[in-house]
């Protein structure tokens, strides 16, 4: 089975966000980056499917030169090769433009399955996977927690809200958006890191961007809605004040 996994590079969770001078995006020149979390689970699922059924895992990322970092990491974890649609504009593009770029990358690959994460940690559109399916003409299913590819098609477990699930059958080729927690992640070994150096990264020019569908006009820190009592002081002082207030003011501790 030939499987493509779409991976996005996002700023690390630890990085202190700063907004740029135009208030339209973050100032990420000095940021550190990592693999979008659900995409790591999508990659792991692809590697497991390959172990079970044979085939090939191709990772695919759209973005500026710096996304080579997450591509290398994915190759070190076991992906066979990579496709990089390189363009600076794709770092902040809307879901349609990203899906269009990924569709170009995958057009000639004739894959049986495309996996994406369900949502990106930065833009959080929750769209790129499904739009890509539409562009490729593939059926799709979203928020997937289990994949059974033993038959001709696929049987996948979709997460619904509040602890409900549902199995869905769909034919191949198909696209699935993967939910975090579907499997337990593996990390790159030294051997994997060495092997990755020899693996192919095919660069593809970005297609002309489709007309923009949406644009950020302002980016800001949210205003606090609720009156939060922020408790100052050293850890010991703050802990003491907090416990006193929970006892005497909120009255929520057992007496």
């Amino acid at each position: 089975m030939k499987i493509a996994v779409c991976i996005k590079q996002v700023v690390t969770r630890e990085w202190q966000l700063r907004v740029n001078d135009q208030n339209t995006w973050i100032r990420d020149q000095d940021a550190s980056f990592e693999l979008n979390e659900p995409d790591a689970y999508a990659l792991e699922e692809a590697l497991r499917l390959k172990e079970r059924h044979g085939g090939e895992v191709i990772v695919c990322s759209a973005g500026p030169a710096r996304v080579a970092q997450v591509i290398r990491e994915a190759l070190a974890r076991g992906a066979d090769r990579a496709v990089h649609v390189e363009s600076d504009g794709l770092a902040t593009a809307d879901a349609d433009a990203v899906a269009a770029a990924l569709a170009v990358a995958l057009r000639d690959e004739r894959v049986d399955l495309v996996l994406t994460g369900l949502q990106s940690d930065d833009q959080g559109f929750g769209q790129v996977g499904v739009v890509l399916a539409e562009r490729l003409g593939f059926p799709h299913a979203t928020i997937i927690m289990e994949v059974d590819a033993s038959g001709d098609g696929l049987r996948v477990k979709r997460e619904l809200e509040g602890g409900w699930f549902q199995w869905i059958r769909l034919p191949r080729p198909a696209l699935l958006t993967i939910q975090s927690g579907i499997n337990q992640l593996r990390y790159a070994t030294l051997k994997g890191i060495m092997a990755a150096k020899k693996k192919e990264i095919r660069k593809v020019a970005a297609p002309p961007a489709p007309p923009a569908t949406q644009r950020i006009v302002t980016l800001a820190f949210p205003e606090k809605g609720k009156q939060t009592q922020m408790i100052p002081g050293s850890a010991a002082q703050a802990a003491q004040t907090l416990v006193t207030r929970l006892r005497e003011e909120a009255r929520v501790l057992p007496s």
Binding site: R13, I26, A95, A99, L118, D121, D122, G124, F125, G126, Q127, G129, V130, V131, A133, E134, R135, H140, A141, T142, I143, E159, L160, E161, G162, G163, W164, F165, Q166, W167, I168, R169, L170, S180, G181, Q184, P211, A212, T213, R215, I216, V217, L219, F221, P222, G225, K226, T228, Q229, M230, I231, A235, A238, A239, L242, V243, R245, A250, V252, L253
Partner: protein, 319 residues
């Protein structure tokens, strides 16, 4: 006209639909609601109580159980027939599943997860969280109508829906669904084996997030919980990593709780977590990042290292 797409399962209306109707009523345009399914007359009657121009019904056997392809087919025809300026949907898992395909097929913008809709001169600005809720973006949609908009769960108030003086008209729409073109074949929804713990009954909850760093530190949180007479719970990544069982997860894909006291340790406060706990009476947040969105819902907040604050709390509680 704003078209609101209602969500129902087996004839039960999803409450988030009312929130979306409230958002549409507040957006200053005439509102029409459409509901798709098989045998949805009762749901249509329920919706007709709202102050809306009409409730349109697409009733087809092929729409009995939700599928992405079925909904995209059905709604493409509905939108073609009604030519709305905007289409509003609740930001549920079901909407996430079909709305991007629908908007892409029609080549129209889709702005997801909106928490507010504002007028700015003659343009509409949609406010949506980015960077896991740490920042908020004001977004404008570009290009021809209709523009698709999904409303974050809990962002608009269901009880603010204006009711009509008389029920709105219920009008069936003749839409033929080509069942053979539906590629997803769903089975009946189910719940995993019964949950061992029912956190919804807990009076107090101590919940840990990724700030706890590793499973070896859970003992610290357990000690705090014991000192408070609380149950232990967690954000999703903790359960994903297998540090705590899934039935201790709070949030949209886990349990919804409203205890007297909810203590969030090292939890950032992503919306999918907040929907599961923001109804708690007293919320305490301990987080080393003063900008973490969890503080927006907290009654008491400490900006600090949980590995210093929690031991001090345990000592204080034991006094």
């Amino acid at each position: 006209m704003i078209l609101v797409v209602a969500e129902q399962r087996d004839g039960t209306l999803n409450r988030a639909t009312w929130e979306t109707i409230a958002a549409a009523q507040g957006a200053g345009d005439q509102v029409t609601v459409v509901v798709l399914g098989a045998g949805v007359e009762a749901v249509a009657r329920e919706l007709a109580a709202a102050d809306v121009a009409a409730v349109r019904v697409v009733d087809a056997p092929a729409l009995g159980m939700y599928t992405a392809d079925g909904y995209v087919q059905g709604l493409t025809a509905v939108i073609d027939g009604l030519a709305p300026a905007r289409v509003f949907l609740p930001h549920t898992y079901q909407t996430r599943d079909f709305a991007p395909a629908l908007a892409a097929r029609l080549e129209r913008p889709l702005v997801t997860d909106c928490v507010a809709i504002e007028r700015d001169g003659d343009r509409t600005v949609y406010v949506r969280p980015v960077f896991q809720g740490k920042l908020q973006a004001e977004v404008v949609a570009e290009g021809p109508a209709p523009h698709f908009v999904t409303c974050q769960i809990g962002a608009f108030r269901a009880d603010a829906v204006r009711r009509g003086a008389a029920p709105a008209g219920i009008e069936p729409m003749a839409v033929s669904i080509d069942a053979a073109a539906i590629r997803q074949h769903p089975e009946a929804p189910f719940k995993e084996a019964r949950q061992a713990v029912d956190l919804s009954q807990a009076e107090r909850i101590v919940a840990v997030g990724r700030g706890i760093k590793g499973p070896e530190h859970l003992e610290l949180a357990k000690q705090l919980a014991a000192a408070m007479g609380a149950e232990l719970a967690a954000s999703r990544p903790i359960c994903d990593a297998g540090w705590l069982p899934m039935d201790r997860q709070i949030g949209s894909s886990g349990q919804t709780v409203a205890p007297k006291l909810y203590v969030a340790l090292g939890i950032s406060g992503a919306i999918q977590h907040l929907v599961g706990m923001k109804g708690s009476r007293t919320i305490v947040a301990i987080n080393k990042d003063g900008e973490a969105p969890i503080f927006e819902v907290a009654d008491y907040g400490i900006v600090g290292d949980l590995f210093e604050v929690v031991p001090a709390m345990i000592a204080e509680l034991k006094k």
